[in-house]
């Protein structure tokens, strides 16, 4: 049960518009790619990360009779923004651009999705913002896409998936982080996979429930990667938002990472503070899903373990089914903390929202 706290002016940092179908994107491709898509029968890039009819993919009352959920601005405005009196919501479009094998095709799709979001979402509701979709397959192309659209202030962050070809701290991704810092945008690392490796370190699972469960360990791995590679030493103004990550795992992970850092810091001398301190300065996590303990007392203890009231930022994860009604803030989070989570923390995370 949530506590039904609604704070006027909340900033929702993770909602998911759906590309209705590949035809909707066609106007945003060049002739070459439009021909490619039709001649080769390129299919829709929906992914197995959110099977269309799986319960988690869309809340029953947010699921349309036909077609994709959250597929047009009117529906999003009514269901996701009006309901929660949201002042601003950030669209993280989970279209499977990162899964493609061809860098060129991915770059074309990324541009098409971004242009579609401008025309169909951002231009239709002034409360909407978006994360830039990039072809993570090639950092040079990714930076080119960032540069192409960054002058539009409604793009407020840059989207990556938590599981890609390489751990996200790896140096080959750094040009993306340089661009993010240059343009005052955090990197939004969202649950999901490019599916270029098994989603677990022990291979492919049997069930969707395992795929979704495995997102959390992947977030642990990527926190390790960003910190150990020294991303935040190189880009001291950069923030990384972990979206749809859950957050209750973070304290235990940082205890472990910090313990090993004490023993192994000679391997990564550029990490000159504890991982716990670095995370508090640079890592933010969206609220939903709340993988909460059974009682509100335990959640209060857990919030104490977090060691900071600035790390969690509000999200509904709309249209994914993480909670019912308007019970988006779990019991155990005080009204004062809820206000920080819903307004102050997002503003401090996204410079472009100030």
């Amino acid at each position: 049960m949530g506590s039904s706290i609604i704070t006027k002016g909340a900033i929702d940092c993770d909602i998911h518009p759906s590309v209705p179908n590949i035809e909707a994107l066609l106007p945003y491709f060049s002739d070459h790619w439009r021909d490619t898509i039709s001649q080769r029968g390129v299919h829709d890039l929906q992914t197995i990360a959110y099977p269309k009819n799986a319960p988690l993919t869309a809340r029953p009352d947010w699921r349309p009779k036909l077609g994709m959920p959250a597929a047009d601005a009117n529906v999003i405005s009514t269901q996701a923004l009006d309901t929660f009196q949201t002042s601003i919501a950030i669209c993280n479009c989970l279209y499977g651009v990162q899964l493609l094998m061809s860098e060129d095709l991915a770059a074309a799709f990324a541009s098409a999705v971004n242009d579609w979001m401008v025309a169909e979402l951002l231009n239709k509701d002034p409360r909407l913002r978006a994360s830039i979709v990039i072809p993570t397959q090639n950092s040079e192309m990714a930076v080119a896409e960032i540069e192409r659209v960054a002058s539009d202030p409604r793009f407020v962050s840059i989207l990556m998936l938590v599981m890609d070809e390489k751990p996200l701290g790896r140096r080959s991704y750094w040009p993306i982080y340089a661009a993010a810092q240059r343009h005052n945008m955090p990197i939004c690392v969202h649950a999901g996979s490019a599916y270029k490796h098994p989603v677990t370190s022990v291979g492919w699972p049997s069930y969707y429930a395992e795929d979704y469960a495995s997102q959390a360990p992947a977030f642990h791995n990527m926190v390790s990667s960003f910190i150990c590679e020294g991303v935040f030493s190189e880009y001291p103004d950069l923030k990384v938002v972990l979206a749809e990550s859950g957050f209750s795992w973070l304290p235990a992970h940082l205890w472990r990472l910090t313990k090993f850092w004490r023993g192994l810091r000679a391997e990564i001398p550029w990490v000159d503070r504890t991982p716990t301190e670095i995370a508090r300065d640079h890592i933010r996590l969206t609220l939903q899903p709340v993988d909460a303990p059974p009682t509100s007392e335990q959640l209060e203890r857990l919030m104490d373990h977090m060691g900071s009231d600035e790390m969690i930022i509000f999200s509904t994860d709309y249209p994914h089914w993480q909670f019912d009604g308007v019970d988006v803030i779990p019991e155990g989070i005080s009204g004062e903390l809820a206000r920080k989570i819903m307004v102050d923390n997002p503003k401090n995370t996204y410079p472009r929202l100030q």
Binding site: E165, S193, S201, A213
Partner: protein, 368 residues
């Protein structure tokens, strides 16, 4: 419960309490001298010709160089020569006696498990089982062996378990955590069935080479990431065992997670409970909440113990897991050894302390 957080200085006193150490790593002084006697000529020749080939590129060392040579404490090299963990007398004088180890569980690593050639894997595991008895447990009654099985060949594993089942030199069946497929998958079920038949817990120790990258997003750069990542790997294997319904199919199965940390368990349980509620139609064979199954079937060794600041936070975590579910371990002779007198830097009641350091293990292993 009477709990007080102590400074390190005041907790540094020697613990006189007898302890169980549920993770000790023995290693052969010399493979030809100590292991070959239990290998056929064919496999001795194979070893000389090809060596041990794992699912990783280097035949003689890891792709992530360890923090210390052989991942060992600098002071753990026996004065008479040989690798750390290869000399029983030195293990006694350096560890078993001064730390008052009443029960030590031997977990041989790099000893035939996860080897590409399955027949060689089976032969080598069998040899190491003989070796543990001859060189260790028959000479030192405080030590118990782990029944090594070539887990990527479950039928050969069952054969090995049935061969030794009932031999009280063995306290548990040992697997490594980085298997080729998620451990709950049906390929591995015969091992769990045989374990229940032999009435032995299944211990899964961090490490190994399963072939998949150590993260779902590829290979990291650093040893620290691999080490920390054992916790994530172990969460994935536990998730698989829960959602495949292993604990319901094998209701007497006991699972011990070794050297993968423990503080992550509450958050994982909460996440799995939530997903189970939402997705029960996909996994109808899981009829009870994951947190209940875990509480009933899973134990964890303590080393490397998480060290939050402030330390009281660890008490919350241990209560959420259950004090009865933790088994003390040092990881002797490895570099990240948890010293018994300093490992738990919080003062707890006498009864709890005895359970944590000894009785939980005696009870689990039926050694009361």
């Amino acid at each position: 419960m009477n709990i007080q957080v102590m400074d390190r200085v005041t907790t540094g006193q020697k613990i006189n309490l007898a302890i169980a150490d549920c993770d000790i790593h023995p290693t052969p002084k010399s493979v030809p001298v100590e292991i070959y006697p239990y290998l056929s000529k064919r496999w001795q020749d194979y070893m000389e010709t090809y060596g041990i080939i794992y699912r990783q590129g280097f035949p003689t060392g890891p792709a992530f160089p360890k923090g210390q040579p052989n991942a060992a404490r600098r002071d753990a090299y026996p004065p008479g020569g040989g690798k750390p963990g290869s000399d029983l007398d030195f293990m006694r004088s350096q560890h078993l006696d001064p730390n008052n180890v009443q029960l030590g569980i031997l977990n041989p690593l790099s000893c035939g498990q996860g080897v590409q050639n399955l027949d060689f894997s089976a032969a080598y595991c069998n040899a190491v089982n003989h070796w543990q008895i001859v060189e260790w447990t028959s000479k030192e009654s405080r030590l118990k062996a782990s029944l090594m099985v070539p887990y990527e060949d479950p039928l050969a594993s069952v054969k090995e378990i049935d061969l030794w089942g009932g031999d009280n030199n063995f306290a548990q069946i040992l697997l490594l955590s980085r298997t080729a497929e998620p451990l709950g998958q049906r390929k591995y079920w015969p091992i769990f069935e045989a374990a229940c038949r032999a009435n032995l817990p299944v211990a899964v120790h961090a490490f190994g080479y399963g072939g998949a990258p150590v993260t779902g997003g590829g290979w990291p750069s650093f040893y620290i990431e691999e080490m920390v990542g054992h916790a994530e790997n172990t969460q994935s294997l536990l998730t698989s065992m829960v959602f495949e319904g292993v604990f319901e199919r094998f209701p007497t199965l006991k699972l011990i997670l070794v050297e993968a940390g423990f503080a992550w368990l509450p958050a994982l349980s909460w996440r799995l409970d939530k997903l189970w509620n939402r997705m029960r139609a996909e996994i109808p064979h899981v009829t009870r909440p994951p947190s209940e199954l875990i509480r009933q079937h899973v134990w964890l060794t303590t080393q490397p113990m998480e060290e939050p600041e402030p330390r009281e936070h660890l008490l919350d975590t241990i209560e959420w897991i259950g004090w009865e579910k933790l088994l003390f371990a040092t990881d002797y002779p490895h570099w990240d050894f948890d010293e018994p007198s300093r490992a738990l830097p919080i003062r707890i009641g006498k009864e709890q302390k005895e359970a944590f350091f000894l009785k939980n293990a005696l009870e689990l292993y039926n050694l009361n």
